[in-house]
Symmetry: C2
Subunit: 498 residues, 2 copies
């Protein structure tokens, strides 16, 4: 290894260590911190972030990357990929002045407070001036980058490297009418019963049950753990320390099990990344959407499938005999797949979820294009909700104010959720061809072949390939909505006898 | 505030943030880490340590300290103290070359492994060559500093700033004969019964009981928490996030409660430091010995006192009626104060504990003077054990190999434990004068006046004063063994009817 490459790896290794130390502090803040510990923790996180940024954007790193870029140009080796990704990250980090990062942090912090208050009082007017400022800052952020085909491309690229707004629009345009039609048909069909899911379930027993499921999936507790937090998430401290959290909701107790499967999906992805990528720009997953494809796959394509219900429902019934008395596996399967157009994204079922996202994507693009009158946002939101989902928010708290993202200036993020759904189904069609008797294996509670396939074809590559490239490598085509439409149509035609 | 002072505070604030981030990662490693997570964590800790060291020992910090030192010379303000302490730390950090720090880390890591093996096999010969290397490194470390009155002074100063070997020797020389005599008298008296302490106690109930006690003491759970770890310790992430750990030992279950009180003593000290010292060289306690005075005070002078037993034993008996059937408060009080010369330091009672320390101090001083034949160390150890405590280790695992400290090159550390005991009694005599009806308050479970006194006279000052200075300020005299001897003699004369 050349001296320059060794030196770059040394610095990037320290940058990675600082990032992962940050993750530990952040995890601890969400899982353990005593009530008054937050302020000092914020300060510690700010210092780590600042030092990490200084270290990464040093002139030395710039020179090393420049020299190595030409040396490794065109190669497909891990080192070449590492240099390519590091160069892209470096370029982005250098374009955004530290003063802007600091300004955005301050505005975002105030904006978050305003959003909290606005949501609590269901009063959009409180949030409006702050949202305006955040959108202005997003425009300023875009201005640091060379003009793209569409200004939204710059934002999207931070989450889905290489992905274009036009691609996402085309994907969603192909999806929207068919998904609206499906939901309409379901709405006219005979509804499924799910009241038994809302009974009282013991939290500890559900916790243990969820852990048993993901142990069975292949989530490695020697290299991870599950804790309780206000919001479920996955976080990575190293390939050998990948942690997840979950939460218990008394009015929707079984959600905890599905949340555990979801986060374990993220976790198994991270546990499967090639360990040689540790402490380089290639650690972690390919993108947010590809990551989401893994969580959604284990939660929905596995967790909410009939074969899996056939495997785990008898065990669940043994654990909760009173709550599930008289319920058969088919009734349970239908209940956990019940479709109900609703107001809140995070509670949406598989059939309606993407429509929540598309609505947001359209509004975000209009914000970035500068054609959206932010004063009229609630009204526009409500109109679209009626159009796509047939429901009307009774107030802004259950409408435009429901999500935290815009208050933090996270514009471009939402689409990764919907893209994740699409990728999960696209991969699944390929897996179903490659893995013999996939359904039978799932029915038998055997996930070795499935996880093995994912490790070999996706997980091991970490951040080496861009999202469209890895999907293309695996499935032979870029991200497309067709498999997801086929998946939804087949599944819900059976459940609702369409 | 001058521009230079502001700049120094800014840098030292970041140095503190890095140190406390390190503490979070370390705490997490001891409390939460999954089995395979350790290697990456070690790497992350090494990187944080390196960056912290680079940041602190920069030329800019050196120039700022030099300029500010003369400006603030002789002042007693917080800023002056901060500069004085920072200057001392800077001088120490600059004297020790990074290459030495790295070499010591490598040798210590191997030495630790060898010590573990040697202890497991009770075979000192395995450890001997590594101990020799660690002692050589200690000599080298001392050589980086200007000659002191005694070479051991350099080591001691790292734990007890300003303290001299001659002081410690004088203190211990005054203590040893009287403590040996007391133990001998106790050995000839009628022994106390403590078999009921070794019965089966429910871990969860003991845990809750311990937490209730320290909540009552004044340990603030809004600014702290207790977790389980292999070794009990206290760690500080900020004045508003001070955590403690404890452990359960099946063969000595009540030890958990006393360990909780001990660590809460450390914790209340940290929670009481003036918040304006946060992120400066004055955060944390005055020294290890002063810190230990607080843990020992709450564990022993409060926790093992008769008034406190009168307060908490009835509650304990209500929680464990079967285990404590027929036991009265006096019998319980005697049992938790049972004196028994024994082989293992960490299990030693109050009367014998200091002798374990004195033995180690004498050996350490001889090591540093270069007059100790390390090959003969087990033999010398055993002779001293017989002389001081009247017991002979049956093997080296229960003798010279019992403690981890020397394997890590921690020479100079042990005496802080014994000094802590002395300081606790010295402070207590003053508290007993200042606080009216102290015993009655403790008997009533009221600790407000006691904690208030400690906050006002000791805790708030953090690291502002050196240990001898703060003890002198509070009690009117430097550290002296007299109060501790009086305390032990009075307590054990009653318990053993001497």
């Amino acid at each position: 290894m050349s001296e320059k490459l060794a030196r770059l790896k040394e610095i990037l290794g320290e940058v990675s260590d600082l990032g992962r130390a940050t993750s530990v502090l952040d995890w601890d803040q969400q899982v353990n911190i005593p009530p008054m510990g937050g302020d000092a923790r914020g300060q510690q996180l700010a210092t780590l972030g600042k030092i990490r940024q200084e270290k990464f954007t040093s002139d030395e790193v710039g020179r090393l990357i420049d020299d190595l870029k030409s040396e490794f140009a065109g190669a497909d080796s891990d080192d070449a990929a590492m240099i390519r990704v590091a160069a892209r990250n470096y370029d982005k980090a250098k374009r955004v002045p530290p003063s802007f990062v600091a300004e955005q942090a301050v505005v975002a912090s105030r904006s978050f407070e305003a959003w909290l208050e606005a949501k609590g009082k269901s009063d959009y007017a409180i949030f409006l001036p702050h949202l305006q400022k955040m959108v202005d800052l997003v425009h300023k952020y875009i201005s640091f980058f060379p003009p793209a085909d569409h200004p939204y491309d710059t934002l999207l690229d931070d989450y889905e490297p290489g992905m274009k707004t036009a691609d996402v629009k085309a994907i969603f345009d192909g999806l929207r009418p068919r998904q609206v039609k499906l939901i309409k048909a379901i709405g006219e069909a005979k509804q499924v019963k799910d009241d038994f899911l809302r009974k009282k379930y013991n939290e500890k027993k559900l916790w243990d049950f969820g852990e048993e499921i993901i142990r069975c999936f292949g989530y490695d507790f020697n290299r991870g753990r599950q804790d309780k937090a206000a919001h479920p998430f996955e976080t990575t401290f190293s390939v050998n320390d990948v942690r997840i959290t979950t939460r218990f909701e008394a009015d929707n107790p079984l959600a905890m099990i599905f949340s555990t499967m979801h986060e374990a999906g993220h976790g198994m992805y991270e546990q499967g990344v090639n360990p040689v990528y540790e402490r380089t720009a290639l650690e972690g997953g390919a993108s947010l959407a590809v990551h989401e494809s893994q969580s959604r796959m284990w939660e929905n394509l596995v967790g909410r499938s009939l074969p899996f219900c056939e495997h785990f429902f008898p065990k669940l019934k043994k654990t909760f005999p009173n709550q599930l008395e008289g319920i058969g596996v088919k009734a349970f399967y239908k209940a956990v797949n019940k479709v109900e157009p609703s107001l809140i994204r995070v509670n949406a079922d598989e059939a309606t979820y993407n429509l929540h996202i598309m609505l947001r994507l359209e509004l975000e693009i209009a914000m970035v294009e500068g054609i959206l009158d932010l004063k009229r946002l609630p009204e526009i939101w409500n109109t679209k909700m009626r159009e796509y989902l047939g429901v009307t928010p009774p107030d802004d708290a259950q409408g435009v104010l429901q999500d935290i993202h815009w208050s933090a200036g996270l514009i471009g993020y939402f689409s990764t959720y919907a893209l994740g759904n699409l990728i999960s189904a696209q991969l699944w069609e390929k897996i179903d061809k490659d893995v013999r008797n996939l359904d039978d294996q799932i029915r038998a509670g055997n996930f070795d072949a499935l996880l093995g396939w994912l490790r070999e074809n996706l997980h091991q590559f970490g951040h080496k390939y861009d999202p469209q490239d890895i999907v293309q490598r695996i499935t032979g085509s870029k991200i497309t909505p067709e498999p997801y439409v086929r998946y939804l149509t087949k599944k819900y035609s059976e459940i609702y006898s369409l």
